[in-house]
């Protein structure tokens, strides 16, 4: 899959789950990675388009390494990526991270409060580290 001749990019597949604040955090963190932390190394896969059969999204996720970012342990992004393209190189679950970090209750899923924004920033940092790891493995 990771041919030497391919330009090195990592696809980020994020859930945007409306059901919980962690879905919003997933979305914001992914956008931060795409816009600020690793803009030249990452590509975002639009999950709804991916699910609806988007050819470009599915082919990219098949041919390039991906990192899935899920809000909760239903892991919709991971399940979809495995089903329609290929096993992701790495998977992140926000609820698992917030539990490990001992995060306080994170408030509204519509508009992130300061604590939730800080968590999104921290998650973005974690995603960026995973991107670097994946690229290092791409020999």
């Amino acid at each position: 899959m990771m041919a030497e001749s391919q330009e090195k990019k990592v696809g980020i597949v994020s859930c945007s789950g409306e059901g919980c604040v962690e879905g919003t955090i997933s979305r914001v963190a992914t956008r931060l990675v795409l816009e600020k932390l690793r803009p030249n190394e990452t590509v975002t896969i639009c999950l709804p388009l991916f699910l609806a059969g988007g050819k470009e999204e599915r082919e990219f996720a098949r041919d390039y390494p991906t990192i899935t970012v899920d809000g909760c342990n239903k892991m919709c992004a991971k399940v979809a990526t495995e089903r329609y393209s290929a096993k992701p190189a790495s998977s992140i679950i926000i609820t698992a991270l917030t539990r490990d970090w001992g995060c306080p209750k994170l408030g509204s899923r519509r508009k992130l409060n300061d604590e939730a924004l800080a968590v999104a920033g921290k998650v973005a940092g974690r995603i960026a580290e995973e991107v670097d790891e994946v690229l290092k493995r791409w020999v």
């Binding site: 590509v43 470009e56 082919e59």
Partner: protein
């Protein structure tokens, strides 16, 4: 043999239809029985985003090579369209009033913009590029200009 040159940038496939001429600002020109049909290239529609409005000069209007004859507008940008030839507009694509998204979904087909009867076709074509040269130009633009293309 494929009808298009193709390349992939990030996750996007970008096509250049063979057999057309192109302007350096990303319009395609198809010569059809002495008239020219004009549209936006795959590269331009992709970089412009979801086209919400298409405005072009009305049929009967005179146009001049290199001068503005219309615009396409998305939520993120407005792009001026400069005529590749001098002449008179015969037809404007009426479908684009209700379905401007055709410019994005089918830029070389149903998303065409106008048909023009040219005044000096041979002279005007000399200032355009062929599909192979436009393909190379597009690759250069991708390398130098673009961070992220909007997701489609």
């Amino acid at each position: 043999m494929s009808e298009h040159f193709r390349t992939t940038f990030d996750k996007f496939e970008l096509r250049v239809r063979k057999g057309c001429y192109y302007t350096r600002d990303d319009l395609w020109v198809s010569v059809e029985n002495g008239k020219v049909r004009i549209g936006v290239s795959d590269y331009l529609q992709k970089t412009s985003g979801d086209v919400a409005f298409v405005e072009v000069a009305k049929p009967g209007s005179k146009v001049e090579q290199g001068k503005e004859f219309g615009t396409i507008e998305s939520a993120k940008t407005t792009v001026a369209l400069f005529s590749p030839v001098s002449g008179k507009i015969d037809e404007a694509n009426g479908k684009l009033d209700r379905k401007p998204e055709l410019v994005n979904s089918d830029p070389f087909g149903e998303g065409w913009l106008v048909v023009i009867t040219p005044l000096n076709l041979d002279d005007d074509l000399r200032l355009l590029v062929n599909s192979e040269d436009y393909y190379k130009l597009m690759l250069q633009k991708l390398q130098s200009e673009h961070g992220k293309l909007e997701s489609r």
